[in-house]
């Protein structure tokens, strides 16, 4: 599952498969973090609060 666990092999299958998995999880994590950090900064008044209109 991870490069540090038993049965991990540095072959093309593992690299592609887990590469994409970690990429997806990273994108999701970064997205959530970005929204969270932006919210905190807006609450602290450090960021401009744009009124987001539905278009």
């Amino acid at each position: 599952m991870t490069p540090f666990s038993f049965e991990w092999e540095w072959d093309i299958g593992h690299i592609i498969f887990f590469g994409f998995l970690y990429l997806c999880l990273t994108v999701i994590g970064l997205g959530l973090s970005w929204a969270g950090i932006k919210t905190v900064l807006q609450l602290l008044g450090l960021l401009w609060e744009k009124d987001l209109e539905e278009d």
Binding site: M1, V27, I28, G31, W34, T39, L52, D55
Partner: protein, 411 residues
């Protein structure tokens, strides 16, 4: 006061009426709960699954739910990536339906595997060459994406929105929704395909085995295409049922017509490729294994009516109906076409799961029959009940349909 929780500018039925509506679904959910407890406590002999029918009703429900839930990712893809802004009317509903379908499927799977507590082994001891591992990883990630897409809708509840941090977080999430939609599209493409790939790679099972491109059997691509053909139709169906029950117009006709026409086109494309694949399989994999087309359709109830229903009545017919504007614009024919389309996709999943296993490969193996037990029905129908309940609660308290206020002005 409960009405303070309702979205602004819309009416909802009384709490008593709503409670009465939820009662039958809660009962089914309870039936499912009892069934699940029995299966976990007493083991899977509570079902009628056997060494022949290793996959049965629950897997049919799983694959069916996931295929019908494809409306979520496809609508998201069309809205955020292609830029079809008019689909925003129906996007929230599609996301909720998708969330229901995927979480329901995961719940059924938790009971289906022989050792639910070892479910995490799929991730920890992953066999990357297995299509089912690909499916599991993608579905898990996609359920996370769906939850994130569902979250802003929940946070838009009138009372929750009054809390500033919640309002800000919801809006910030909404602003980057395209990122999640793109991730969801990527994940969905692969798991919808891998669900088809699961059967295509069973090279020792002549009914399911297919040739393909590189490591991907043709069923991989056919399952994706059929899912995006049926998913939007399922979304339209649920919306139409909701409109009927609430006696309101919830989504503008343009949106519905766009999705319906697109579904028709995708279904027609899918059917051409499916028929070509079937002919190729008969003359290829089936003949090489020494079997003819009718050899697969002569046992038990699994007769030739299955492919006729799947491709003909529930395939070609709804495709034609959805492509003819005069029919598509009439609600009655639209609903029938959507129903037939969704049924066709379920029949397709059913064929690959059940008929593959039902028809013996060894000439001296006998045919065994299978009918689900009440415990199996309980768990399976509970997913439907859960879906109805969740959608009902979401509709009642959340702004699921952005155009609802505009389409139903309160005089």
């Amino acid at each position: 006061m409960e009405s303070a929780l309702f979205p602004e500018g819309v009416t909802r039925c009384s709490a008593k009426k709503f409670f009465l509506w939820t009662l039958p679904w809660l009962l089914i959910l309870a039936w499912g709960g009892v069934s699940a407890v029995l299966c976990l406590w007493k083991a899977l002999n509570q079902t009628n699954m056997s060494n022949i029918f290793a996959f049965a009703l629950w897997i049919v429900f799983d694959l069916g739910l996931i295929a019908l839930g494809a409306g979520a990712f496809f609508t998201g893809f069309l809205t955020y990536i292609i830029g079809k802004k008019e689909l925003r009317d129906i996007l929230n509903a599609a996301v909720i339906i998708g969330f229901i379908c995927y979480s329901g499927a995961m719940a059924i799977l938790g009971i289906d595997i022989g050792q639910p507590l070892r479910g995490w082994f799929i991730f920890w001891h992953a066999n990357i060459h297995s299509m089912l591992v690909e499916v599991s990883f993608c579905i898990t990630c996609y359920l996370i994406v769906l939850s994130i897409e569902f979250l802003p809708i929940i946070l838009e509840n009138r009372k929750l929105e009054e809390i500033k941090p919640i309002r800000l977080f919801g809006r910030n999430l909404h602003a980057i929704m395209a990122v999640f939609a793109a991730t969801g599209t990527f994940l969905s493409f692969f798991h919808q395909g891998s669900l088809g790939g699961m059967f295509g790679v069973m090279y020792a099972r002549p009914f399911a085995a297919r040739g393909g491109f590189y490591i991907w059997p043709w069923t991989f691509f056919l399952f994706i295409l059929s899912a995006i053909a049926a998913g939007p139709c399922f979304t339209i169906l649920i919306v139409k049922i909701a409109e009927k029950l609430t006696k309101k117009k919830l989504v503008s006709d343009n949106t519905v017509q766009f999705l319906a026409r697109l579904s028709g086109f995708l279904l027609a494309t899918y059917l051409i490729l499916k028929i070509a694949d079937t002919i190729g399989w008969i003359n290829g994999e089936a003949h090489r294994a020494g079997l003819r087309f009718m050899d697969f359709y002569k046992e038990g109830p699994y007769g030739v009516w299955l492919p006729i229903a799947e491709i003909g009545i529930c395939g070609i017919l709804p495709a034609i109906m959805l492509l003819i504007p005069k029919l598509r614009k009439q609600t009655k024919w639209l609903i029938i076409a959507c129903l037939l389309n969704c049924t066709g996709i379920i029949l397709n999943r059913f064929s690959f799961i059940i008929v593959t296993l039902a028809i013996p490969v060894l000439p001296f193996e006998r045919f065994w029959s299978y009918l689900p037990t009440w415990q199996e029905w309980g768990v399976a129908l509970a997913s439907i009940a859960y879906g109805v309940l969740l959608f009902s609660v979401a509709y009642r308290y959340l702004p699921v349909f952005p155009k609802e206020r505009e389409l139903n002005p309160i005089s």
